[in-house]
Symmetry: C2
């Protein structure tokens, strides 16, 4: 058995190494690769993906797994978690017929290209057949995975195993009933700050330097990371020792790169702090999407958009941009970066309206999967909900139903994890506060090590050792609950807007 376990771990280590390498290829493609390399790189990436897939589904691995399960599958040990995770992966992969995977993969690539072109031309009609195909194939995949549950539940498993559609419905109902009136009350107050301040000139090199200074203060280890510019920001890890992030800059808009970097730093610190003992195993990864998003949103919003944060950092920011910020102070900055304003684009939304963007997508996806909405009616349904939730109607589909990449790649059931991440971020922070005391005082002093240490101990180090519901219960003593988050929104924005 010891020999089997050793062989099992070696196989997993090999797959883990190759997956890290695949991420290097992907990072290089987004940040460094000359344009002429695209086609050959795609071929090389496909070869590597095929080898990873072969190794991950090889009968040798399956046999070892079957031999190890009787001893380890129920164990509360590292080996137990490892065996369970490999089983989950293995079963999941083997449920889709090979031809279906190939067909889906090709259709997805075509859909992704079609979306890019259609969005540029604001032409939903040419994208429609691809989007229909994506919904259709995702429904088929759900059926392959588990025909006995709601298709949305079957898909959710990839992003947050343990989470159920009904849980999301419940949480989102609470969130909606809290949020919509709040947005209306704030809108009634009118504009309270001069938002044009954030659209002054901010030198890009200095934006980068400030974003990195703060990220390092948070605890992002630049000795095991770096920051590069890309069209779409992301964090990516080749191992816990090399976790890179990217952001995008606008010289005439300060928040984008700044909060974008704080956000990616949250993801990246998670990956830098998975346990040493998980190295070269499939457990050495953040615990799926909701928990991952809780980390990015925690540093971006709960820390980066807090009053205490700006008490400490505004004077520093001012030394970076003395001209553009000469007439601003910490309190004004705090108000500026928390302005609530219904807007068209999800990724630019403020903390409150953001969740409404998510709910809209969740409800539309569900309606299609449940047969209550035709894909061809999505633009109209989208716009109606935008009017309903946010009081605005997109002037075109490019800024409406076609704004996100997710649907074009059949990433259904993913959106909710963004809002659930928001919710979890507060649940975690409040637990940390109970343990650590005056977090605001620490933030105001620029001290983040206690918070990062708490997160490392209760979240990061475990990687994928536990499923999300288990991890959340262990870290906070409760299942996922929206209450602390609703209270946070209510308190923060009532205060900010004098409601």
């Amino acid at each position: 058995m010891t020999q089997n376990l050793e062989t099992f771990k070696n196989l997993l280590a090999e797959i883990s190494d190759l997956s890290g390498i695949a991420s290097v290829l992907s990072w290089d493609k987004e940040t460094q690769m000359p344009r002429g390399g695209i086609e050959t790189r795609a071929v090389q990436g496909a070869t590597l993906a095929r080898i990873i897939h072969q190794k991950g589904t090889a009968s040798a691995l399956k046999e070892l797994l079957t031999q190890l399960e009787p001893e380890f599958a129920a164990q509360e040990s590292f080996e137990g978690a490892l065996v369970r995770q490999v089983r989950r992966d293995f079963d999941r992969k083997s449920k889709l017929p090979t031809e279906f995977v190939a067909e889906f993969s090709q259709a997805r690539a075509r859909s992704s290209n079609a979306w890019q072109e259609a969005r540029g031309k604001n032409d939903f009609k040419t994208f429609l057949p691809h989007l229909e195909k994506m919904f259709e194939m995702a429904a088929k995949a759900a059926n392959h995975y588990d025909s006995s549950v709601h298709p949305f539940d079957a898909l959710l498993f990839d992003y947050d195993p343990g989470l159920k559609t009904e849980d999301i419905r419940g949480i989102f109902a609470d969130l909606r009933s809290e949020t919509v009136p709040l947005v209306k009350a704030i809108a009634a107050k009118g504009e309270t700050v001069d938002y044009s301040i954030l659209k002054r000139h901010f030198d890009i090199d200095k934006q980068k330097a400030f974003a990195l200074e703060v990220s390092q203060a948070f605890g992002y280890d630049l000795n095991r990371g770096r920051l590069d510019p890309t069209a779409h920001p992301f964090a990516i890890n080749f191992s816990r020792d090399d976790v890179r992030m990217t952001t995008r800059y606008d010289p005439n808009y300060l928040p984008m790169a700044m909060f974008g970097t704080f956000h990616e730093a949250g993801h990246a610190m998670y990956e830098q702090n998975t346990g040493e003992h998980l190295r070269r195993t499939p457990l050495a990864r953040g615990c799926w999407s909701t928990v991952h998003e809780s980390q990015s949103r925690l540093w971006e919003n709960l820390v980066g958009r807090s009053r205490a944060f700006w008490q400490h950092w505004f004077p520093k920011l001012q030394t970076y941009f003395p001209e553009s910020l000469h007439d601003v102070d910490a309190q004004m900055m705090y108000k500026l970066v928390n302005r609530v304003q219904p807007s068209l684009i999800r990724v630019e939304a403020d903390e409150i309206t953001y969740n409404l963007h998510i709910m809209l997508r969740f409800e539309l996806e569900l309606a299609v999967f449940e047969g209550n909405l035709k894909v061809s009616d999505l633009p109209e349904a989208w716009n109606a909900k935008m009017q309903d939730y946010l009081g605005i109607t997109p002037p075109d589909d490019a800024r409406g139903v076609m704004q996100d990449v997710h649907w074009s790649e059949a990433l259904f059931a993913y959106f909710p994890t963004y809002s659930l991440g928001n919710i979890l971020s507060v649940q975690l922070l409040e637990t940390a506060r109970e343990n650590l005391g005056d977090l605001n005082g620490m933030f105001a002093a620029g001290e983040y090590a206690p918070l990062l240490g708490w997160l490392r101990e209760h979240v990061h180090q475990h990687g994928k050792t536990y499923l999300p519901p288990d991890l959340i219960a262990r870290a906070t003593g409760k299942p996922l609950t929206a209450k602390p988050y609703l209270a946070y929104l209510e308190n923060k924005f009532s205060d900010l807007y004098g409601l």
Copy 2:
């Protein structure tokens, strides 16, 4: 048979893809990777190398090869060349016992580290046992490869299959008898230019912009490449569509990055122009070391250090550095970049003394392999030859016997290919001149497309289709000969120094 050929090509394509990926890892390590990633990356690289090795030595590949050889091995076709190259690789790899390869690899890594440390401390004694081990293991490897030939011949096969030690001896004897008197005659003339001009301030960004402008004019395709800074310059290809180069900058020394980039552009253009039909095969690579070096030296020296080149480019260079070059003209620049001056370090040597550095290494390697010199006596022998050939004695071993990385990694028999590359570069250029006419006139007009086109047709496109002697004979109608090179040196430097 068609089926076998298809399977054979698919296996080679997979290996080729993985090798390209290994190069991405290596480039990233040298140019982008944060320091903390070193160990994990080494593990990931080793995993990939092991998989490449497994696939390259798999019995499936061997069986296919054996089945295909009767039909293809003697064919003058792409398939013929492919079968022959795979056979060469396969036989070469299978000659070293597995345990020997592992032992050699570990000893090499230790030796490389020891060298780095010892050079820093100018401490040959601690490096000596490692260097002895490198010579000893290289001799063993040579014996494994072919115990019936001179060990140096057995090693040469890796860098220039077809080349024999006796050929090098003959060529180098001619080169020595021409070069040593030339160096003395030039030394007798004394300094004729104010070399301090090249040590003025030259902004690094502008150095890069100029080097890239020239490289692109040569024909380096930046859409399939890029230029980054590294400690040691190199060119590397992931495929013909992604060939990157690196260089190093000194803000107070102009020639280093400039000629370094021209040099790497020569290597890189070779790799960018291997035939489309060779894609994803082991033939899609430059034809071993001598031919590769001929391309780098051709663009660096025969073009970049020509009078005609500076007639065209000096005014442009002056617009990049108006202050530092205000009192210089094209003719003076031509003299400056061709100053002959005996010096300690090979990689900084001028066109003439460079070869003496190479001969010295060649002779010392041979003396050790032939049992006429003990490794422990290398420092003394090195210094004696430096005095003999160049009239200078290294003040320490760091700038003497320990200056190059090659020996620390058992790269014996490699050095000669640098000088042979010089020799071949002139042989090729003279043949191109016979075909194309007034090359100097083209250089003076900044036109390089005819030359690159000729090289593409006669050298680049063939990749490893032919062995070097065959390629050289096809391209120039003659075997490798030093005569044109000797005439080139004699003419150029007699003129420059008024001998």
